[in-house]
Amino acid sequence: MLRLCVYKSHKIIYCEGLMKSSKSIEIRYEELSPAEWFRRNKELAGLTNPTRAMYQTIREFVENSLDATESYGILPSIKVKIDYYDKARGWVSVYVEDNGVGIPDSEIPNVFGRVFYSSKYRIRQHRGVFGLGAKMIILYAQSTTNKPIYVRSAPLGSDRIYEYVLMINTLKNEPIILERREYENKYRWHGTAVKVIIEGDWPRAKKRVEEYLKRTYMIAPYAEIILKAPDLFLCFPRVTTKLPPPPKEGLPHPKSVDVELIKHLIARNPNLTLREFLTEYFDGVGKQTAEAFLKWAKFDPNKKVGDLTEDEITELTTKMREFNGWRRPKADWLSPVGEELLIEGIKKVLEPEFVAAVTRKPSSYMGHPFIVEAAIAWGGRIPPSDKPIVYRFANKVPLLYDEGSDVIRKVVEEIDWSVYKVKFPAPLAVIVHVCSTKIPYVSAGKEAIADVVEIEEEIVLAIREVARKLRQYITKKEKEEEIYIKFATFSMYAGEVANALAYVTGKPAEELKRKLQELIVKKVGLPPVPGKAEVKEASREVAVEARK
């Protein structure tokens, strides 16, 4: 069940234009190792400045930790420790430890020291993509502080703990093992701990990191997260021991292919016939479906895939994407949070007065299955603001940057909230979680979900569904509130009226007051008995605006 590791020998050709003389341009081609290419393109991973790098480092490691725990049915316990390593130079050490499945001794150098060292050809919902993020962080550490990464890990059930100090040879894309130690695992610890030293701006990143961890916890309330930093200590205790079922691993849907993938699969076994190829490597394709497709696409089912020409491969790919006879993509590879857990997390973090959540039925775009979950939180400790506060999540990862270009924000903005009895400023938070085997991000920074029609539709339906529940709640509240206001208003005046009339006519005031109170009860009824939650709001002053 551990990642079976297969090394993909990818090389990326990097092209640089050099101005040699004013008359001619000589283009020099240079082969770059993936590690070198990523080192040169670190902004792709969001490592644009020391603040962002700080946030990104914590994010990548925490996400790996969550993947290494909850995906295997382990309740996550994550410790994050941040220290100034060399304050004058702006160097910070980041340590992240989890109680996950760990990494086998022999795999540790490759997992951390070789770019594109990935799990096998299988899809399922992940937070990160093949652990690429962590390697980017190591490359970033190397290029800013030139300090190695420290790794300690013990797989489940291992009686040894392994410790490595590693660097990446960027030119060769190979790990350099600086130190290796092993210890006896007395307490049967399992998990992974990593520590890097990077150039980072902790004071500036602090708020983001705090918000990131808070939101991570909100969507994964079964996790326990502790952060120790120079001037910040956060402890998010585990709220529940319920874990969402881990996603299964599966094959890609035939509609989700591209030419590169097809070529890659053909290379694995060129002797397969087209029929065999389709049933072997794709999800939900049986003999019948394969033949129906090949007939429609005008391909010979018995043709060997290795004999396909370049043009035929392109044609096959196009047809696979166009064909409408495939079975719908399965959602078994997805792991939505679920309504119950979502509500628990939101209640714990936002402390609202009302919350409703929905997990939609699976849907798909371009062969990628996805599920949208949405929740609405209202009142309580949510501060009133002029528009809804949006919490965005993709595969349980909170998205903090780039809200403006996110389809979720767009949908929230386009909804006419007055239909749901929301009048701004309002204490309203909208939480949307999109999970998919492939999240369509707007850019490589992976901070905003792109405007895909199918996903947008699902988000709209999900938000509307919970918004209707909010409207019901507000309507009920309003009715209750009306009774309260009437009762309180009349009762408030009754004392004054009774006293005045008592003075004028000489009747006892108490008697008049009692009679008036009877009349009020007869007219508006007794207000509902307050629940505990409402008593909490006691002593809040209420302006009586109703009749003004």
Binding site: F490, V524, V542
Partner: protein, 369 residues
């Protein structure tokens, strides 16, 4: 009109309170019926040339969220008035406002604290005084409640108050301030030809110092803008009891003209009082819109009318008591020119011109009504 004694007034108020208590004791929602003091319930009586209260009545219910606060305020005011009579004091409407103003605090079953002032400004407390007046057919003056009196008079009149005789010709540049209840004022002697009512105090003072009343042997009165009840009652008495012609001088704008109509016919808010306060024979001498042309008022005195002025002028055109041909012509001219002037504009041909203007208007009967 026979003024009732304060003891009779007290009895009426107590009876009124008793009837409300009886409703409560019978287990009925307390409701008070009050003639509506609204524009729709203000009726123009073309024979008497005054505004009177129509037959519309509103029911102020205690258990109606929109009316409850006013109900409470009415009861509170009733108590304050009864208290004043029982203790034999004569508060002003402002005194009553302060006496009654306090914060009511109520804690509801949810422990939420409701806080509210009995009334927030004097308009609210004044309104319930007027409600009590119409509901009980008693006048504020009869209850011994006074208001700030803005009115003053100067000229050939001798009055007696609390045994002291005051001759309003012997006040120099000063003037006689009117008392809160002019009905209690004994008018000993009036030897004036007419009464000139002036909207603005500054013009009143000028004419006083310049000896206009001596020249013309007339009385000068001002109420400094919108007239109060005492000033209006005083002018009514001069017209009714001494048959003096009454002339009104205001700025040439819709607000000035409405002030004239209040002297003459009464106001919408206090139409129940018109019988006592209005002077239906009062004439308007100016300043009119056509005066701007007829008296060749130069441009530096002419002011462009604002949107509010225009709106107000359209309202006047709809009032039944502005339907005389002369008034319609003036208002339409104003709407056409979109120009207004102040009384001061009559200094356009020298400071003494105001005197000539007034004499011309009054002696050559160039007034409108």
């Amino acid at each position: 009109m026979v003024a009732r004694s304060r003891q009779e007034v007290l009895k009426i108020l107590e009876e009124w309170g008793k009837r409300i208590v009886e409703q409560i004791e019978r287990g009925q929602e307390p409701v008070i019926e009050i003639p509506a003091r609204t524009l729709s319930n203000t009726v123009w009586d073309p024979v008497k040339k005054i505004l009177v209260l129509g037959p519309e009545r509103m029911r102020r219910r205690f258990l109606d969220l929109k009316e409850s606060r006013k109900f409470m305020q009415t009861m509170l005011m009733l108590k304050l008035i009864v208290e004043a009579i029982r203790e034999n004091v004569y508060p002003t409407i402002r005194d009553l406002y302060y006496n009654g103003k306090h914060t009511i605090v109520y804690v509801d079953p949810r422990k939420r604290v409701f806080k509210e002032n009995t009334w927030d400004d004097q308009q609210e407390s004044n309104a319930v005084i007027e409600d009590i007046e119409v509901a009980t057919s008693l006048l504020r003056e009869e209850m011994g409640i006074s208001a700030d009196v803005k009115g003053k008079v100067v000229g050939p009149i001798i009055v007696r108050s609390k045994g002291f005789e005051i001759d309003a010709t012997k006040l120099g540049d000063a003037a006689l301030s009117l008392p809160p209840n002019p009905d209690e004022l004994d008018i000993v002697k009036v030897e004036a030809n007419y009464v000139l009512v002036i909207e603005k105090d500054a013009i009143f003072q000028r004419l006083n110092r310049e000896g206009f009343w001596r020249d013309e042997n007339c009385l000068l009165v001002t109420a400094k803008g919108m007239p109060d009840r005492a000033t209006r009652r005083f002018i009514r008495r001069l017209s009714e009891e001494f048959k003096l012609p009454v002339f009104v001088l205001t700025d040439a704008d819709p607000y000035g003209w409405y002030i004239y109509s209040v002297y003459r016919s009464g106001s919408i808010k206090l139409s129940y009082e018109s019988e006592r306060l209005a002077t239906p024979d009062a004439k308007f001498v100016g300043v009119t819109a056509s005066d701007i042309i007829n008296y060749k008022i130069t441009d530096e005195y002419v002011i462009a009318a604002t949107d509010r002025d225009i709106k107000r002028a359209h309202e006047l055109l709809r009032y039944p008591w502005f339907q005389s041909d002369a008034w319609k012509k003036e208002i339409q001219l104003f709407l056409k020119m979109k120009k207004k002037v102040e009384i001061e504009a009559l200094s356009t041909h020298g400071l003494k011109f105001l005197h000539d203007y007034l004499k011309d208007k009054i002696h050559n009967k160039k007034w409108i009504e």
